[in-house]
Symmetry: C2
Subunit: 196 residues, 2 copies
DNA sequence: GTCTATACTAGGATAGAC
DNA sequence: GTCTATCCTAGTATAGAC
């Protein structure tokens, strides 16, 4: 959460603010986030955030775009075949899990998707989702049914991580079973991260 | 959205308010919803909503519980074998699609799931999700891998409906393909509902 | 490039009447 | 059972100085 240092370039400052914003929007959602909270997380004053981004909506839109770009970049970095015997889907899945370990990233994306009816935010969210779809089809070379599976698994993972059912898994047998049947052999790993 | 009629029993009034609340919380999210908006949707005054539910958080929690119960009830009603040759999963899937046609229901559930970190709301959301899991396992008799598929598909459906990608499908070929590869032969039906 | 001061609105919750 | 009036806080955005 970016430490303060006086008088840096506006571009650098924007980056700092966006990083802070991912965490804050993720935690409190779009409506629940105040520009002041983002400002404090970035170590600057509230009016300056507004000055740089215009409105809170614009700030969220840019934060969402920023996060979607990070998602795309993460997937692209996982495309080239590695030394292991992993399939494309496995490589992409691994990369995704590592990315959404950052709860801010996970929830900023989800909050964006849920604002589909918002005239300013909806189009950005849909466009981002479609870009992922195209990437899976054109760059990863997945067939329709593979895309379907990959996305569906991803959305279930999102939900389980968002609700935090993994934390219950330590004490609740059913929660553990649910995690197990979703994450398979990777449960241990995921649960370890969840409690960390 | 419940029409006003003076001096009914508190219980009836609570039901009216909960119905209104599902629609409003769905549209604006937890933080984005004002108790005043819910009150107006229910045709009563804002302080009376607070009087009946204590706090906005309590109102949301009861709204979420109410919606989760409706979900469970919908699934249970779809369990008994019907005249058609449909599998349990197909019957449950059909029932689910009809339920979440109500955007308020869909989004209230999703908003609830995303508030997993909230100390008051998180436990309710997790408990609801676990109840669904148990129902699929114990009452529908699904095997772990079937549950996994069913839930994953459901979560993808949620996301596509929430973002509103179906609306884009009319003009964007990729959006149409994405809908197709998720909903299969049921696309037409879903898209027709989406535009209605 | 960044701040302080501030205007203005919205919203949760309470008091108390009917 | 339900309302009106009201308090108080929080939050967006602007003006203007440094």
């Amino acid at each position: 959460m970016s430490t303060r240092s006086d008088r840096i370039s506006a571009d650098e400052r924007r980056e700092q603010i966006l990083d802070a914003a991912v965490a804050v929007f993720g935690e409190f959602g779009y409506a629940g986030t105040s520009t002041d909270r983002v400002a404090r997380a970035a170590g600057i004053s509230q009016p300056y955030v507004v000055r740089l981004f215009g409105t809170k909506e614009q700030l969220f839109i840019e934060t969402l775009r920023h996060t979607l770009e990070r998602l795309l970049a993460t997937f692209r970095a996982a495309l080239p075949v590695d030394a292991e015997e992993a399939s494309v889907e496995q490589r992409l899945g691994e990369a995704y899990l590592r990315l959404v370990e950052d709860r801010g990233v996970l929830l900023t994306l989800l909050h964006g998707f849920m604002l589909g009816s918002d005239p300013g935010i909806g189009p950005v969210a849909r466009d981002g989702f479609l870009q992922v779809f195209r990437m899976l089809r054109d760059e990863a070379g997945l067939a329709p049914e593979q895309i379907h599976r990959f996305l569906a698994d991803g959305m279930l993972i999102n939900t389980l991580l968002a609700t935090g059912i993994g934390v219950d898994a330590a004490t609740d047998r059913d929660a553990a079973d649910l995690m197990e049947c979703t994450f398979g052999e990777r449960v241990g790993e995921v649960l370890a991260r969840a409690s960390a």
